[in-house]
Amino acid sequence: METTFTPLASLAGGIMIGAAALLLLWLNGKVAGISGIVGTAMTDFSPASYWRWLFIAGLLTGGAAGLYGYVGADEIVLRASTPVLIVAGLLVGFGTRLGSGCTSGHGVCGIGRLSPRSIVATLVFMAVAIATVFVQRHVLGG
């Protein structure tokens, strides 16, 4: 499905995401990498880890408010078949943990600290994702 270019909303949303990441570092000294926060929260139930569950609770609450108040749940359409989604989910979960970060941890926080690791990781996952979409849409067609 075609989508329209939304420069102002996307820029505003990006600034909010950046502000959230900055807030977490400034106040708590933590990096806002979602895959790291979720991956660690699932296995670390020590008191030092409780902030992760609160961050996730906030993320789900703010996100749900935005989903129903602004985006509209009808917009959330996954085009891939269930088997492909299972494989994709496994790859995203496993890959972000193996590579120590995702779009937020490497893309927003890591590049924000000019970490060479994060810059390289972001270039790699962007390039592979672009290649994947290219093959799927323009080579396999569909």
Binding site: E2, G18, T96, S100
Partner: protein, 136 residues
């Protein structure tokens, strides 16, 4: 207590930002990645807007002795660009390109209640636990 509230507030702002930015919409993500098709450059502005805040902000904040509510900064210490980093990023990119979902939007989209989103998130969490179990 203060740390908990700070984490909650940061999470809410992050979630709202994802919604406002368009990142929750898989079609929009895939169209951003589809540079040879009906390219939607919006998501470049999401990342650009976020980095425009974190780049100067992190620079200033990390000059401080410590965070406001914690004893010290917990920043990633690894510096090696190794096979784990590259392989992990490549696997993630493949999964992202196949689905249009990266971890944060996937979690937030649970609220849509759609079965295929739940399947994706379950697989994603399983993938994270699998990595943990393999001790890689």
């Amino acid at each position: 207590m203060k740390q908990g509230i700070a984490a909650l507030v940061a999470g809410v702002l992050f979630g709202l930002g994802l919604a406002v930015s368009g990142m929750l919409i898989p079609d929009k993500v895939l169209n951003f990645l589809d540079i040879a098709g009906h390219w939607d450059p919006s998501l470049a502005l999401v990342m650009g807007g976020a980095i425009a805040v974190t780049l100067p902000g992190y620079f200033v904040v990390t000059k401080r002795e410590r965070p406001l509510f914690a004893e010290g900064f917990s920043l990633p210490a690894a510096t090696a660009i190794d096979a784990r980093l590259l392989g992990g990023a490549a696997l993630f990119g493949l999964g992202w390109g196949l689905s249009g979902l990266c971890p944060a939007p996937a979690l937030v989209n649970i609220a849509s209640g759609f079965g295929d989103v739940l399947v994706f998130v379950a697989a994603m969490l399983a993938g994270m636990l699998l990595h943990r179990a393999l001790k890689l």
